[in-house]
Amino acid sequence: MFLDRFWANTINGLAYGSIYALIAIGYTLVYGVLQLINFAHSEIFVIGVFGVYFTFLALGFQPGAAPNLPIGGIIADLLLAGVVGMVLAGAAAVVLERVAYRPLRRRNAPRLAFLITAIGASFVVQQLFRIFRGSNPEGTIRLLQPEPVFRVFDAPVTNLQIIIVLASIAMFFAADGFVNRTRLGRGVRAVAQDPATATLMGVNRERVIVITFLLGGVLAGAAALFYLMTIPQGAVFNGGFLLGIKAFAAAVLGGIGNLRGALLGGLILGVVENYGQSLFGGDWRDVVAFVLLVGVLMFRPTGILGESLGKARV
């Protein structure tokens, strides 16, 4: 049974894993720069999910009904929804930073205080969605039906899975290139490495922080689009919680503060989780994820690739 489904699970796991990875990058960037677990990042993702969902509704799609559009139109609509989701999530991340984190930074608050404001912010966002949209998940809107394109060892690879994995990896490389090759990215790495010295050298720390939040938010928005394209659950007010924990686990797994670690951790987590599901049954999926995390941390206490956003640290 497990062996029969091995390749199918691997492929499916890679698709899930890319979504984890995109969210994980947001955690990892903020952690690298501020040493802060941005607990509200999962809510940024949820904002992206609702942004994408509302765009679908605004474009005239309805849950359940298969769209009757030429492929070009569908791609344009998906892109539009994705852009809306990314803009909303990015903006929300910047607002979150302003409202919940910056005042604390100004006051040199202890580290746990940041965690508590993050928790508070995430309650607020969740409850706003619950009040406006109720606690039942929205229906799923599928613009693209999954269709097998080719087979790997007899396991079908669908068009959705190809799009998601390729697009995620492309976005990852864009983010990685931004952090490692551009001037602004150098600022991000400098602040991650040594904030005080970076500031002395003329890096605007506040701006770097805003950029990291923005980048993380935008990637979460993209993850939101992929989430709605492939994962059976619809948009729901608390949908980000478990996903957020897993994405954070993925970031830790790969080595938090390390962009490549986030990608690797996300993919590994997605794949192993799917193996676990097929070995032990669906109920054990999350158990496998957490056991994997604990297991890896026991042998590699700083994650698989170690923590290093500032490269020169190695």
Binding site: V33, L34, Q35, L36, I37, V99, A100, P103, L104, R105, R106, R107, N108, A109, P110, R111, L112, A113, F114, L115, I116, T117, I119, G120, A121, F123, V124, Q126, Q127, L128, I131, A192, Q193, D194, P195, A196, T197, L200, F241, I245, F248, A249, V252, I256, D283, W284, D286, V287, F290, V291, L293, V294, L297, M298, P301, T302, E307, S308, G310, R313
Partner: protein, 408 residues
């Protein structure tokens, strides 16, 4: 950069919280200057008042008619007990534990398995026998969780404990003998009755349970106080303030961290049995990570490391949603906003007090600076308030300009 922040912060920090802060500092200084018997004398009426709260049922404070006041108080008391236990881990030893609800769950499930007729073990232990068993089991689970994970630091520990909390809940979901959502009925209650013969501990009237919980809290506080003043407590604070320095000066940090975990876990288990006994029913619904985060919120809100503070914090976190229930829609919204606002204006928590090592040896300090003068030496106030210069560096280090962020 640090300098700019300091200067910018200078005038503003003096404005908002400072009056309240000074008042608290004054109160705590005055309190510390009292002798032990005097302190006890002042405490007794307060404690008596706390005991009689459900009987008095004061009109504005009461949570009725929405929630029975004695039940609200009992829940607050259990919450306070949990916060005291978690405070050992977070406030004293400085270990961020996000999965504390796991221990609470283990305690509750111990009570369920050992006394419910639904349990496959087929035993019906009395509640009093369950308590020590549950505490030992949770303590062992704390050691089991701690042994591999306490070598991790900071945020890694946080995520692993979070994973542990989720694991406990998922196991309760998925392991058949733990009965998932169906749960266990008829969990044993402590015996005892009022003079007129009505049973003291029932599900509908939590007055007896509230008294029991307060009594347990007092005992636990007493034991914790002694523990904190002992070598163990000093070791915890040393670990919290600077783990490397502690290790270098010969404190076996790993061992004391496991101690903190185990003792915190045992208190969590104790509160779990108490909760299970009052509700009389345990299933998998009460133990999600959100609950764990509420515990953390209680500790940080009240002021980590400050026992009175965490009790106040726990009381607020448990009591406010019960009291202002009329708009259940907005309950958590308001709670979330309150958390943000409170943290922005009082990042140290309501009664924040990060005691430093010096603040502890009160007698030692008084010997050094002249005992019995009644006027606490400035050094003591600065350190016991946790607002003086020595603490200034600690939050700063953690706030992001941490040297650790650069190193490795």
């Amino acid at each position: 950069m640090t300098t700019t922040i300091r200067t910018r912060r200078g005038p503003s920090s003096g404005s908002s919280g400072s009056t309240m802060r000074d008042r608290w500092a004054e109160v705590s200084r005055w309190w510390n200057a009292r002798s032990r018997p005097e302190q006890w004398g002042l405490l007794v009426p307060v404690v008596v008042l706390i005991y009689f709260l459900p009987v008095i049922n004061p009109p504005i404070i009461t949570t009725e008619p929405a929630t029975d006041f004695s039940i609200a108080l009992f829940n607050a008391a259990v919450f306070a007990l949990i916060a005291i236990g978690l405070n050992v881990v977070i406030g004293q030893a400085g270990l961020l534990d996000l999965g504390y609800v796991g221990f609470f769950a283990i305690g509750a499930y111990c009570a369920a398995l050992l006394s419910s007729p639904d349990s496959e073990l087929g035993v019906r232990f009395p509640w009093l026998a369950i308590v020590p068993i549950a505490m030992v089991i949770t303590m062992i689970s704390g050691v089991i969780l701690g042994t591999p994970t306490l070598r991790l630091r900071g945020d890694y520990l946080a995520i692993v404990t979070l994973g542990f909390g989720e694991l406990v809940r998922l196991l309760a979901d998925n392991i058949d003998p733990l009965r998932g959502n169906r749960g266990f009925q008829d969990i044993a209650r402590p015996g005892g009755s009022y003079p007129d013969g009505t049973p003291l501990f029932t599900q509908t009237d939590a007055q007896g349970f509230y008294w029991l919980a307060v009594t347990i809290i007092i005992i636990v506080l007493f034991l914790m106080g002694n523990l904190e003043r002992s070598r163990v407590g000093r070791a915890w604070i040393a670990v919290r303030e600077d783990e490397d320095a502690a290790e270098l000066t010969g404190v076996p940090t790993y061992r004391f961290k496991i101690w903190a975990f185990a003792i915190g876990a045992a208190v969590g288990g104790l509160s779990g049995t108490l909760f299970a006994a009052q509700v009389g029913f345990v299933n998998n619904q009460r133990f999600d990570v959100t609950t764990s985060i509420l515990y953390l919120a209680a500790v940080v809100l009240g002021g980590q490391g400050n026992k009175v503070g965490v009790i106040v914090g726990a009381f607020l976190v448990s009591y406010i949603p019960d009291r202002f229930q009329f708009e259940p829609e907005y309950r958590f919204l308001v709670f979330g906003l309150a958390l943000i606002i409170l943290m922005i204006f009082r990042p140290q928590g309501l009664l924040g007090m990060r005691q430093h090592l010096l603040a502890y040896g009160r007698q030692a300090y008084q010997k050094l600076f002249g005992a019995g003068t009644g006027v606490a030496p400035t050094g003591l106030t600065a350190s016991s308030r946790g607002r003086g210069d020595p603490s200034e560096t600690t939050p700063d280090d953690h706030a992001g300009t941490s040297p650790r962020g650069g190193g490795e």
